[in-house]
């Protein structure tokens, strides 16, 4: 399966960009924990990254068409795992999304994203139309909503929401007619008030406070307020690594995971933050470029799903630290501390590289 040509077709630039983000993340985690007792986090994250790279190569080694061909099998297994979490899972921070193996814990909801990307691509690759029909929309929505519901039941609304951009992005590229788009929007508008009722009080408050930060500047809005202060006080050049007092003195919570962008923006300033965001944008565009050169619909749609997922994570996470999105606890891809999310991101990256490296396979075969 691994030919020499395969290495020639490896997208070094995208991979290097990803490692670059990982390195920035490690620096941020290191800076966030110099004064704390948790300095081991830095080392652990490095281990996760190593494991992630390995996983990416593993995913890359298997032809993505093999993966899409067996997507339904993976899908079924993953859904069983998610149900198992509901039954046997360990509750951490109010949500029951972890399964523990000894001292390591894993969140099945993270690899579930990859499986859903593959499943949607697999379903769509079997169609020949240029636009989705009603039953296709229904099928795609159903395939996505099942894990969303299971994960919502685990109490992890933030992660559940990250499946939606996969669905939307995939449908958009697969050919969503305007009337369906309008229909989907209308359904969302109708369901939203119902969804509002199912939200827990603290979740409602988070959303309200984001819309109006002055509603409760001291209570729920505290994190956001402190995050804004950290970012705003960074100025153009930042305060220097390790010197971001706002982050270092514990004013911003979850500084090594969900709010790591606040620390980086405080210590590296606008320039650092802009560099990070540009790196993400470059990566996203590079992925879209890979899609553009992909050989088949499955390849295009895999890349689409991954890019949509990454973009959503970046937008919601950074938007949260910048005070324009509700404080939904989802990690910043490759930057935030976290094993499951790092591994899942590398798996996603592996898929994209997989598509990239096999873009000529068919043409070679047809010659």
């Amino acid at each position: 399966m691994l030919h020499r040509a395969w290495f020639r077709q490896f997208d070094y630039l995208l991979f290097a960009g990803a490692l670059c983000l990982c390195a920035i993340g490690l620096v941020g985690i290191y800076s966030a924990t110099i004064h704390g007792a948790d300095s081991a986090l830095f080392v652990r994250q490095a281990i996760w990254i190593g494991a992630g790279v390995f996983l990416a190569f593993l995913v890359m080694a298997i032809d993505y068409r093999f993966l899409t061909d067996h997507a339904l099998l993976f899908y079924g297994l993953t859904m069983l795992l998610l149900v198992a979490v509901l039954i046997f899972g360990r509750e951490i921070n109010g949500s029951k999304s972890w399964i523990r193996f000894g001292s390591f814990g894993i969140q099945p909801s993270e690899p579930a994203k990859i499986v859903v990307i593959l499943t949607l691509a697999s379903y769509l690759s079997q169609l020949n139309d240029n636009y989705l029909r009603r039953k296709d929309v229904a099928a795609l929505a159903g395939l996505t909503l099942l894990p969303v519901i299971l994960i919502t039941m685990q109490g992890d609304l933030g992660t559940a929401l990250t499946f939606l951009p996969i669905l939307v992005g995939t449908m958009l590229v697969a050919g969503l007619r305007l009337k369906f788009l309008i229909f989907v929007l209308v359904v969302i508008l109708c369901v939203a008030p119902l969804g509002w009722l199912t939200l827990k009080d603290y979740q409602k408050q988070r959303i309200l406070v984001t819309l109006n930060p002055d509603l409760d500047p001291n209570g729920v809005g505290y994190q956001t307020r402190q995050s804004l202060i950290a970012i705003g006080s960074g100025g153009l050049m930042g305060k220097g690594l390790g010197n971001g007092l706002q982050s270092q003195l514990g004013f911003v919570p979850e500084i090594h995971s969900d709010f790591i962008f606040a620390l980086l923006a405080e210590e590296l300033g606008f320039l650092g933050a802009a560099a990070i965001l540009s790196l993400y944008l470059a990566g996203l565009l590079r992925m879209v470029g890979i899609g553009d050169r992909a050989n088949d619909r499955a390849g295009i749609l895999i890349v689409t799903g991954v890019a949509s997922l990454v973009c959503f994570h970046v937008f919601v996470n950074v938007g949260m630290t910048l005070g324009i999105m509700p404080a939904i606890g989802i990690p910043l891809p490759l930057l935030s501390y976290g094993g499951s999310s790092t591994l899942a991101m590398f798996m996603a990256l592996g898929l994209v590289l997989n598509v990239h490296s096999r873009r000529f396979v068919y043409s070679e075969a047809s010659v």
Partner: protein, 610 residues
């Protein structure tokens, strides 16, 4: 899977993704630009305030010293509980915590926070002065749960002599809302300690000093990481009093447990040497934390321990007033040194019998004899001749019925009756018979012990210096300055002669006699109810209305250096209870002022004028 699937339309639609990605990252970038470039200054300031606390460093109040430089009031340290409002996100929870664990009154805390709202959010609110050691330990143990609470070390007043001179020194307390409106307290902030009474209040501005501040780097749990940029507080000015501590102690000791007052002053300079009012209070209790029951006990005490009787107690002068009536007779030409009267123990005037205290009568008396024996009949007749107009006018020349202008607040004026006064207050005309009782210092004549001491001082020296407590303050309150009366020396000498005989001859003031010091003085006994009322009430009830006892005197006779006034409330007679107390004070003075060569020297002169 179809081979050669047509995916051109899919690839075209990737364009949507590019647009969305550009928009998403562009939106984040512009927001980032807005926060860290456009709003940089604002967030920079917020970050500063977040991480740095400005903690006031209250200034130690100035020391208060006696005339020899011995500290009567000093400072120690106390610890106050403060709240950093900008960090108090859940005020209710903080209040619950304090109410439950430190048993602080919630309403009071809420009021303090409300009052502080007119000041900058970054000024901490003092929630509680003088924390106990237990409370402090508890708070420190729970610091990380309540980073918004802090403990502020601040100077606290300490009065090493406790109740000694308490009324004079006064006490401190937390500045009140009303005081903050007052420009005199303009530089103060809620939670500041200010003088509430006595010297502490009168000289608050000089004693207070100027508080400094300190910037402290704290983490999100309120833990102090670093202390920076100290503006040191400027300590308050030191005040040197005219009080002589040893004389003060002797006077306190002499008065003992009797309710009353003792004041000693230098009639030439106007310096107050000692000033006692009893019962008293311990100003230390106010400097710490006065418990409600302590306060209740102080204000419900029928003997008014918070009143400074020396300047706030009003009493009729009784027989002491005879000195001034006698002097008035001489000065106004109504009588001469040889004018005499015959005392049979009582006299009929305006159809009423007026009795002398000596039922057997004094026989024929001249002025000096009349003073020596305190003969009522002589002064009835002299008073009748002078009339109320002359008496009240002459009393004012001696400063009676008006504040002395001493450098303490709360001094009362007292009352010298006159025709106009009676017309105004009762609507009735002055009856000639009323003059008769005024002539022996009874009736609606009310003076403070300090006024009486000053008046006797004028008799002793013919001078009217401004009374004062702080050295170098002779010139204060000039509107109260009495004009030099310009009395005839011969007249003064006659009155002094009478006073000398009161103490050293066959007089009522023998109790004040001191071996080796020429004391002159006069006793007084002030009936608080008339003899008729006394008879009606019966002896048992009337015991509550035992007369007040006075003694006012000076020494030495020929070069007066000290005037002592003593009043013992319900003390019975002046000769029995007041004169011996004055004697003790004179004796102490003699021991202090007697030089090595047996020469009576001035009390140690102020070493420096502040």
């Amino acid at each position: 899977m179809p081979i050669n699937q047509d995916n051109r339309s899919h690839k075209q639609r990737l364009f949507y993704l590019r647009v969305i990605f550009f928009l998403a990252i562009g939106l984040l970038l512009s927001r980032q630009w807005f926060l860290s470039i456009l709003e940089y200054r604002r967030y920079q300031a917020l970050a500063e305030r977040n991480q740095f606390r400005t903690v006031p460093l209250p200034a130690p109040r100035g020391l208060i010293l006696d005339r020899d430089g011995r500290a009567l009031v000093q400072n120690t340290f106390g610890f106050a509980l403060v709240l950093f409002r900008e960090e108090a996100f859940e005020l209710e929870r903080v209040l619950d915590f304090l109410e439950a664990n430190l048993s602080l009154d919630r309403e009071r805390l809420e009021r303090r926070i409300r009052e502080a709202n007119q000041y900058s959010l970054y000024e901490p609110v003092v929630l509680q002065q003088s924390l106990s050691l237990e409370d402090m330990t508890f708070l420190l143990a729970h610091q990380s749960e309540h980073p918004e609470l802090g403990i502020n070390r601040r100077p606290r007043r300490i009065y090493p002599y406790g109740e000694v001179a308490a009324h004079l020194l006064g006490h401190v307390g937390e500045v009140s809302g009303e005081e903050l409106q007052n420009p005199d307290f303009g530089s103060h902030r809620p939670g500041d300690i200010v003088g509430k009474f006595g010297i502490e209040k009168a000289y608050n501005r000089r004693l207070a000093g100027r508080s400094g501040e300190q910037r402290i780097l704290v983490d999100s749990r309120g833990k102090t990481l670093q202390e920076l940029q100290v503006t040191p507080p400027a300590e308050g000015e030191e005040l040197g009093l005219t009080i002589h501590l040893d004389l003060q102690l002797a006077a306190e000791e002499a008065l003992g447990d009797n309710p009353g007052a003792v004041v000693a002053l230098d009639p030439e300079t106007g310096e107050i040497l000692a000033s006692v009012s009893h019962p008293g209070f311990d100003p230390n209790a106010f400097a710490r934390r006065l418990r409600p029951e302590q306060w209740e006990k102080l204000i419900s005490n029928p003997d008014h321990p918070l009143q400074n009787r020396v300047i706030q107690g009003l009493f009729s002068p009784g027989s002491i007033y005879k000195l001034f009536v006698g002097l008035a007779g001489l000065e106004l030409g109504v009588a001469t040194l040889d004018t005499s009267a015959f005392c049979t123990g009582s006299i009929m005037l305006y159809g009423h019998p007026f009795r002398c205290w000596h039922a057997g009568g004094h026989g024929r008396v001249r002025l000096v004899d009349a003073i020596q024996h305190s003969c009522n009949v002589y002064f009835y007749l002299l008073g009748q001749q002078l009339g109320i107009d002359a008496l009240s006018e002459f009393s004012r020349r001696l400063g009676l019925g008006q504040p002395t202008g001493i450098d303490l607040s709360g001094e009362v004026a007292g009352l010298v009756p006159s025709r106009e006064w009676k017309k105004e207050t009762t609507g009735n005309p002055w009856y000639a018979g009323e003059t008769i009782s005024v002539a022996i210092g009874q009736g609606p004549l009310n003076v403070t012990p300090l006024q009486l001491a000053r008046a006797v001082g004028i008799v002793a020296t013919g001078q009217t210096p401004q009374l004062h407590l702080v050295r170098g303050n002779q010139l204060i309150a000039s509107q109260n300055q009495l004009d030099p009366p310009g009395f005839d020396m011969a007249h003064l000498k006659a009155v002094r002669e009478g006073m000398w005989r009161v103490v050293n001859g066959q007089g009522t003031g023998a109790g004040a006699r001191v071996e080796g010091l020429d004391v002159a003085g006069k006793t007084g006994t002030v009936q608080t109810i008339s003899n008729r009322t006394r008879a009606r009430l019966g002896e048992e009830v009337a015991a509550k209305y035992t007369p007040h006892a006075w003694f006012v005197g000076f020494a030495p006779r020929d070069d007066p250096a000290i005037v002592v006034a003593v009043i013992v409330q319900r003390g019975g007679s002046g000769s029995q209870s007041a004169a011996p107390i004055a004697g003790e004070v004179f004796r102490a003075y003699k021991n202090l002022a007697l030089g090595a060569g047996g020469e009576l020297a001035q009390l140690k002169a102020p070493s420096a004028i502040h």
